[in-house]
Assembly symmetry: D2
Homo-oligomer: 238 residues x 4
Amino acid sequence: MKVLIGKDVEEMSKIAADYVMSYMYQEKQRVNLSITGGSTPKRMYELLVPQVKDTNRFDHVHFYNFDEIPYRKEDREGVTISGLREAFFTPAGIPEERIHKLDQFNYQTQDERIEKDGGLDMVILGVGADGHFCGNLPQTTKFGDLTTRVECDRRLKDRILPEFNDVEEDVPDYYITMGPRSIMCARHIIMIASGVKKAEIIKTLMEGIVDENKPATVLTLHPHFTLIMDEEAASLLS
Amino acid sequence: MKVLIGKDVEEMSKIAADYVMSYMYQEKQRVNLSITGGSTPKRMYELLVPQVKDTNRFDHVHFYNFDEIPYRKEDREGVTISGLREAFFTPAGIPEERIHKLDQFNYQTQDERIEKDGGLDMVILGVGADGHFCGNLPQTTKFGDLTTRVECDRRLKDRILPEFNDVEEDVPDYYITMGPRSIMCARHIIMIASGVKKAEIIKTLMEGIVDENKPATVLTLHPHFTLIMDEEAASLLS
Amino acid sequence: MKVLIGKDVEEMSKIAADYVMSYMYQEKQRVNLSITGGSTPKRMYELLVPQVKDTNRFDHVHFYNFDEIPYRKEDREGVTISGLREAFFTPAGIPEERIHKLDQFNYQTQDERIEKDGGLDMVILGVGADGHFCGNLPQTTKFGDLTTRVECDRRLKDRILPEFNDVEEDVPDYYITMGPRSIMCARHIIMIASGVKKAEIIKTLMEGIVDENKPATVLTLHPHFTLIMDEEAASLLS
Amino acid sequence: MKVLIGKDVEEMSKIAADYVMSYMYQEKQRVNLSITGGSTPKRMYELLVPQVKDTNRFDHVHFYNFDEIPYRKEDREGVTISGLREAFFTPAGIPEERIHKLDQFNYQTQDERIEKDGGLDMVILGVGADGHFCGNLPQTTKFGDLTTRVECDRRLKDRILPEFNDVEEDVPDYYITMGPRSIMCARHIIMIASGVKKAEIIKTLMEGIVDENKPATVLTLHPHFTLIMDEEAASLLS
């Protein structure tokens, strides 16, 4: 495990953006990156966009989302891919043929498709205060799981509700996520964390316990795992 | 996970020996391999010895044992390193400066020393019918553990007794092992298995469950894990 | 430059075969190897065949010839590919879809096709007493050349005559070869040499002069160049 | 050969800086970079300095100069290392133990020391309008040369004079340079070029001729050679 601490969100985002760029510069025929939506990487994408748009230098880099929350009622793309489009794909001008969508229609072949594409070179993901990563919330998946569909019980619906502007009837009955085993297959994993709300789970990750109730703890066993955080997230480390 | 099946012990040993050789041929300043004692790799070492001895082509390859059972009463090296010397180091003419012993005196710095040496390029290990690997017997270590000293209760002593020719008073009160986390840090893991006694655990490993009561299941999460077995060990696979 | 000396042709061939195998074991989606015909590698292929046939472990390994002498009169494959089939492809059971033929009909797209296939991971080649490699005989190609068609003047025809059992009317007016630039593009180059007839050119290669009249001297500038020879070929080295 | 064209010096410098950073982010125990002085990389260093200073993330990155012009009369460091200190080492806060000076006192062991340090991961260098790179001016070194001392005849002294503010008596009788063979040993080579004065030599490099009178042409044979330039330098390319 490699640990990098930036003094604030800006510096954490800069470090993370530099890491992502370093994979995009890899001398390979094709580079496959799985990237995260949500609020933590917002600034990182702002730093990446000007470096990536208007150039053909990264035409060999392909992108994958690793989870998806479908909208229930509308015929539109899910929450994750919509967020990634807005934060990164659209402003960066990534063409459709390099965006590999995971959704409710194709999740059963996600792991197989990625393997056929050459495997993921890197996954960059966040961590929840409850220890979840991607859609692997505690008690929803097992360490050994590949990409799966998770049914939403009341507890999960309540968690997801804010993503749907608290409109209960929009909340879907299930969502999709790559499992712990899918993510561990990637050649490198980068986790980003910021803010004091993440300090407790960061402390847990650094203590070295691996516990299925804190799903992200398994990622610390990956031989190429890098944790990038700000000082607030690191505040409980000695 | 990559799975290779040889038709018998001879073919499994040949495949495993070829893999080990391919790491020894890596174009690196230094290659660090952690290798296994016991009966499963016996034939593999017989195939390796003539390729490795009497040449300076592999002077950059260093060897590490990953567990050790010290003798209780005698001032002599432990069971594992003694076995490795007899099966491989001595006939292959590996000089002392490339043999990095783990024992009861230095285990607390094993992980640190390996990291300083550049990390392990590969670990080759066997698997027990009970799902143990190295000295990680069920209920003795946790997935998150680094190298540790395991105290031997009655159950463990009974298990180890045959290694000491059933002489109870030779059996030590503890042994040493690199933990699941230590092994997962290696860049590649190769597991070998032969014989019908291993068919059940092989089936478990292939089913994708990760369970701390079958410690070896965690290794299947490593992004570069290769399983080499004979047809008997594979006999319960569909 | 890495230099390995076996005591005789047997040992040189064993080392070379081990190297070739180590590339076939590389953990990649596809491995591209360009391999040499002629008499020097004969024993090497004998050692490789039993390791490669009757297994699907190497289904990701693709083969390329790097030169070709077409027959003039017959509607048949050229000298090089015919030799490779006899020595290796046929006994090893390599299927057609993994044999990528270079010939007089497709040479102009050879470099482009190889690049599209992901580039060559390794080229294994011999060296002539006159310093030629592949079909790059002195004064026929320049260091900067890619794959090319070489017209055969009288001097060249005399050289090639024995390959055609001294039947003058079979000797073609031209042959095909990957150029020095094509070969230098490969990620690794392995040169094999045996016999006292090669001692002089080996000495030249080791002295470090780079001279277009001894085409093989340029290969010593490749950052991953390995020279494997027997003691006779090494006999003029101090 | 990989070719990247930025629209002006600013964009070329940004691309080059990103490349250098991508090597500094490599997951290795130690990264060895050989970097260039002179005016072409000036802006690149300005972009690198804020990314490199005040962090311990790059403590594994070591720096090497590849040529040196010693001052004749003074007991002070040479022209190249002085320039590198001013442009990069000092503002970036690189400590002495990671600066590996090549000078007139140690040049005979430069290649050996670099090999012992694990080899160069990357060299970034410029190109002269006359086709020189490092101190390999036409007719001063051969393609096969390692690090060497070049005696300055009248012609060379006239060339170097401006570096010494046209003070003739400061101009040394010799200078030091890594040779073409030394540079080709690096795992990656990056060449930067800007301005219309470089357009002619860039055209020559792209045409594929390899000519000892234009020393830089040999670098195009390196399997991992990247050429980064601005539009002016690219203006004669079709």
